[in-house]
């Protein structure tokens, strides 16, 4: 396998009984790439993402994430990736500092590493004064940035972001994407799902899943050209408009 490929899957398939949720998908994601994983509701995105994160075994096909095999080395994958979703990312009833400590311990960082990285993180996020505040009491925008930083405190090769900006105000959404840009420019691979199609424009490459298969995969510019569309929104409608599932 090429060292530059942080994610590489070939014929990845997941069946539940007679239902094929993910139907033989293949793609590679490079180091430092921001890869947008789009699809209509019910297209199979979540199932595919669960396999990539080592949470679900594929029925067929193979793949590797961060250098580990998704079928046989699921535990190693979990230790070497970051994950953040809109629904769950931080414990609301713990303070900012307690959340950082909890996640860094789960990821196996030493006390010294935790202290060092936490100090850098609080400084970068300008959150030093909020260290001892309960997460439930900090504004949404700060929570988002903190959640991303906590999910990447062990400096994983790849971070999976599952609709990280749903319902978030336009300013916070943009600040969040600046964090993604910075992580990517520092060599971290970012695998992200979103329903905001303007955010799809920020990705280096986009895949669009329809009914379990990848129907389109390219840079936003190339997709717009291929489908003769002005925006990614139009591309998405054109590609996903014929979906059978999710109706």
């Amino acid at each position: 396998m090429n060292d530059d490929k942080v994610i590489s899957v070939d014929g990845l398939t997941k069946r539940f009984g007679s239902f094929t949720a993910v139907d033989s998908i293949s793609f590679d994601v490079s180091k430092g790439e921001i890869f947008g994983f789009l699809g209509a509701n019910g297209a199979g995105k979540t199932t595919a993402m669960r396999m990539l994160c080592g949470l679900s075994r594929p029925t067929a096909g193979r793949g590797s994430v961060a250098g580990f095999d998704i079928a046989t080395q699921a535990e190693d994958i979990k230790r070497h990736i970051g994950y953040m979703s809109q629904k769950f990312s931080l414990y609301e009833e713990l303070t900012v500092r307690e959340n950082v400590r909890l996640f860094s311990t789960i990821y196996g960082l030493s006390d010294r590493e935790t202290a060092e990285r936490a100090a850098i993180m609080f400084d970068r996020l300008e959150m030093t004064s909020m260290r001892d505040t309960l997460v439930s009491d900090i504004p949404t925008g700060w929570k988002q940035k903190l959640a991303f930083s906590v999910a990447t405190i062990h400096r994983p090769a790849v971070v999976f972001l599952d609709e990280p900006t749903g319902g978030v105000d336009p300013l916070t959404r943009r600040k969040f994407w600046e964090l993604i840009y910075r992580a990517s420019s520092e060599g971290m691979t970012v695998f992200v799902t979103t329903h905001y199609l303007d955010e799809a424009e920020y990705c280096h490459r986009i895949s669009i899943m329809v009914d379990g298969r990848i129907k389109a995969l390219d840079t936003p510019a190339a997709l717009k050209k291929e489908y003769g569309c002005r925006t990614m929104d139009e591309v998405f409608r054109s590609v996903a408009g014929g979906a059978v599932r999710g109706q």
Partner: protein, 305 residues
């Protein structure tokens, strides 16, 4: 006051130390599609619960069709159809049972309201005996809307009906709303998707419990009076960092495939293009841009903080 479908006056609501609504006033006119646009935590759902007679405000008043929501709540409930943000149907009842249940709550038959819901409900007719909990997201949404409409309400209250829904289903849902609007139903719909604002007759922008502005989408966009430019370059992140500190630039943020640059009169896009190219950026392009609701929201949020 007569003439308003929904009249909200100086409404405030707190939960402990959290001020969810802070002196909110707005008028929704009969027959219009009124959008309440704002992010999570802006206070949208609190306002819906108050208008839907489910919660009292700490201060202020709300009238629906001229009826006070506190004293005339029973009459108000017959007039409104309310679809809350969270899935509100009984998951263990079937499609048909849910519809019959909601019709019986209002003392009407399913038949009497059927022509109104037919365009929405037609896709669900294929599986009347499926449990609501086993429906897909898009189908649940159609059933919930059918249940909210079965008693022929004059006013429809929809709290974030398109959250978490993909772009294709979102656009189908808005088509359904447009059809309902032609039947004379007043619709108050909330969303955190700024691009849905343009589908409304009038909108209110809400943030941190306060209304930032209310008007037609076109007039609100026209109120953006700054100079605005689209900027792009080979390395967008480097371009963003460079433009943020550039003389004459008051704000710069990502906007789809480009950056939006808000600038004062001293900013010269031609000179800036040359200067940024000289600093090593490739393919620099800076051209005049048209703003939209999202630009306005960012601007108004900036004024607040």
């Amino acid at each position: 006051m007569s003439g308003c479908a929904i009249q909200v006056r100086d409404v405030s609501k707190s939960y402990g130390s959290v001020k969810a609504l802070d002196g909110v006033s707005l008028d929704v006119r009969p027959g219009e599609m009124f959008g309440l646009i704002g992010p999570d935590g802006a206070g949208k759902s609190s306002l819906y619960r108050i208008v839907a007679t489910l919660q009292h405000p700490d201060a202020g008043s709300v009238a629906v069709d001229g009826l006070d929501v506190a004293s005339a709540y029973r009459q108000v409930r017959d007039i409104i159809g309310y679809m809350p943000e969270r899935f509100s149907l009984y998951p263990y009842l079937t499609v048909r049972e849910n519809l019959e249940f909601f019709a019986s709550l209002f003392g009407v038959s399913v038949q009497s309201g059927y022509d109104l819901i037919a365009p929405i409900f037609s896709q669900l007719e294929r599986f009347p005996d499926r449990r609501a909990g086993a429906l897909s997201g898009g189908m649940k949404q159609k059933l919930a809307l059918s249940c909210a409409l079965i008693h022929r309400p004059r006013i429809l209250l929809l709290d974030e009906p398109t959250t978490g829904v993909d772009a294709v289903s979102r656009s189908e849902f808005w088509d359904m709303l447009a059809t309902l609007r032609t039947q004379g139903i007043t619709i108050m719909v909330s969303t955190s998707y700024m691009d849905e604002a343009r589908l409304c007759d009038r909108i209110a922008l809400i943030h941190n419990g306060r209304i930032l502005d209310t008007d037609t989408p076109a007039r609100l966009v026209a109120s953006l009076d700054e100079r605005l430019f689209d900027a792009s370059a080979g390395d967008m992140y480097a371009l963003l960092s460079q433009l943020r500190g550039y003389p004459g630039v008051t704000d710069c943020y990502t906007f789809g495939a480009t950056l939006h640059v808000v600038a004062d009169a001293s900013f010269d896009p031609v000179a800036a293009t040359a200067a940024l190219t000289a600093r090593g950026l490739s393919c620099v392009s800076i051209t005049p841009a048209h703003g939209d609701i999202e630009d306005l929201f960012i601007k108004l949020m900036g004024h607040e903080s």
